[in-house]
Amino acid sequence: MTGPFPLPYNTLVVAGGMAAVGCAAGVVGCLGVLRRRSLAADAASHATLAGVALALAATGRRELPVLLAGGLLTAIGSLVVLVMLRRFTRTREDAATAIVLGVSFGLGITLLSGMTARGIPGSAGLEQFLLGQTAALTAADAMLLGCLSVAAVTLVWVGLKEVVLVAFDAPFAAASGWPVFAIDTALVALLAVMVVVGLPAAGAVLVTALLVIPPSAARQWTDRVATMLVLSGAFGLTAALVGVAISAAVPRLATGPVMVLAAAAIFAASFFLAPKRGVWARWRQQRELQQEWSRAGRDPTQAPTKAAGRSGP
């Protein structure tokens, strides 16, 4: 029924592409979360819409690489504007991010509806970039996304020490002579690239979820950065595959939002079940401590030592 493949060909293509994107988004998103740049990534993702529309208007071509390139330009442009707003005006960080997000998104929607209203060739269906259009992924598209994802993860692996240093203690890094602004800029640029790569998966509105939810879930399980990266990539990959599997089984279900829901389910499970930090684990620890103390109440020499108390969260 499916020819030489164990699964339908389209499912395999979409699964491959989405697995790569989900994994890379999880890994790169870790750094964004640690450096607290996730909101900037959200602003960048909303700005991609204008770039996609402009790319189509300027070149008349509808191939994915062209449209994504346009999206990347406006994503980076919006981040530049964000940095300038924070440096040269007295706008606070959250207000500046909201301004950039709103204005660039508004611009994108205006361009998009203007183009579809004028019937510009190829503009029909551009709004699929809002929520993703995974079902329409061709093998060439999936290869492109896969290569970009691999490149992104490689960059993270190479520059991990520098980014973690800056994310953890920027003043110390600066005093040690590291170019903190340059490293920060490189990280944010990588986030922008990841946002664009994730556009066909989940669309401009949801792609930030793929960058934020897997790292947050991974954080529940570990206190080491390297482990967090690996887990986050694994969670992103799992969410992607679950999303693809469900939308392959159920008719009329868009893949992108299901991927995000799968990621959210993983996060909820982590939140409750993770050892040490999870809600259930903490409740158990509380109970054990209470039992120990109530036993100690009967015999003071059995009181828990200070060191044992310290090992709590």
Partner: protein, 330 residues
């Protein structure tokens, strides 16, 4: 020279501002009144059509007797078209608004409903007998009726009556032209049936981006499958693409078709899936679905567009005929 110092007399400044504001409002109101259409219209009647298909209908029935304007241009998707304030203005200034109806102009329906209370609005497809329509859900009908030429032939008369009521001077002309057009449509219907008869029955499967061609399928004996469903608003899921690949491969369908007003990315994925299973599916060509073609496309009227579609389909599915023209331009 007298120096005007507003701080010394705030009352005078406020009064001046008040007078200026009132005069501006008065001027705007007067202009609006002057631009409003009188009750009984002298020729030519100002008619605004929503889609290119409906505009073609008006042109066929009324010709030069009315001043025709069209809201959506060629290649525009009427399912998702949202009216801008300028459009609302154009609609309000018309003396007659002609829409397709049956919720084709999904996002305009509320606006049209409100307009209908102030000026004449006619939705031509709404007047067709319901037993001839394809039902999608209780009370909701497929709006793509113009693909069945014999069904669309019922619309000219509806339009002619409305025009006659607004412009009685030319009533006989409207009715005559409507009758002639309806006859041409019936003739076209027969012509298309014959052409499509050249395609063997088992290969008469039309796979397109969205489900616009159900009336076409029913009228001319073609099985139609759309990737996205009846409205372009819903997104195709992976499951839908897989099912279509199965269909295309099992039935050995030689070609699939894209539409001028809908995204063709789904169709590209579909063709790849079929190719992976060893069945090469050609891109049959572009069909006119929710919109006619622009100037120079060779499909600016409904008759031309339908002929072009059928020629493209027949060529793609292997009816032995060479295509009439090249691929259609949006």
């Amino acid at each position: 020279m007298h120096r005007w110092t507003p701080r010394r007399s705030p009352g005078r400044a406020a009064r001046l501002a008040g007078w200026i504001t009132c005069s501006l409002w008065g001027a705007l109101w007067a202009a609006d009144v002057a631009a409003a259409p009188p009750a009984q219209a002298p020729t030519p009647l100002r008619v605004l059509a929503t889609t290119t298909v409906v505009a073609d209908l008006v042109r066929q029935v009324a010709g030069d007797l009315v001043a025709l304007d069209c809201l959506m241009g060629p290649g525009v998707d009427p399912h998702s078209y949202k009216a801008t304030p300028r459009d609302a203005d154009r609609l309000a200034r018309a003396q007659l608004v002609v829409a397709s109806g049956l919720h084709l102009e999904g996002k305009l329906s509320e606006l049209l409903g409100r307009l209908g209370k102030r000026l004449p609005v006619v939705s031509v497809a709404d007047a067709l007998p319901q037993n001839k329509l394809l039902e999608l859900a209780p009370g909701l009908y497929d709006p793509h009726v113009w693909f069945d030429a014999s069904l669309w032939a019922g619309c000219p008369a509806v339009l002619a009556e409305k025009l006659a009521s607004l412009d009685p001077v030319h009533a006989p002309d409207y009715r005559r032209r409507a009758g002639e057009y309806a006859a041409r449509l019936q003739a076209l219907h027969g012509e298309l049936t014959t052409q499509l008869g050249a395609v063997p029955q088992e290969r008469r499967v039309l796979v397109t981006a969205h489900d616009a061609f159900r009336y076409f399928g029913r009228a001319y004996g073609v099985e139609v499958v759309g990737v996205q469903g009846t409205s372009t608003e819903s997104e195709a899921g992976l499951n839908d693409i897989n099912r279509l690949v199965d269909l295309v491969v099992e039935r050995r369908i030689p070609a699939v078709f894209v539409e001028t007003s809908v995204s063709d990315r789904n169709v590209a994925a579909l063709r790849e899936g079929a190719a992976a299973r060893g069945h090469a599916v050609a891109l049959g060509g572009r069909l006119y679905s929710d919109s006619l073609g622009g100037p120079g496309s060779g499909a600016q009227t409904l008759e031309e567009a339908l002929r072009s579609n059928v020629a493209t389909i027949v060529a793609g599915l292997g009816g032995g005929e060479s295509p009439a023209t090249g691929s259609p331009q949006p």
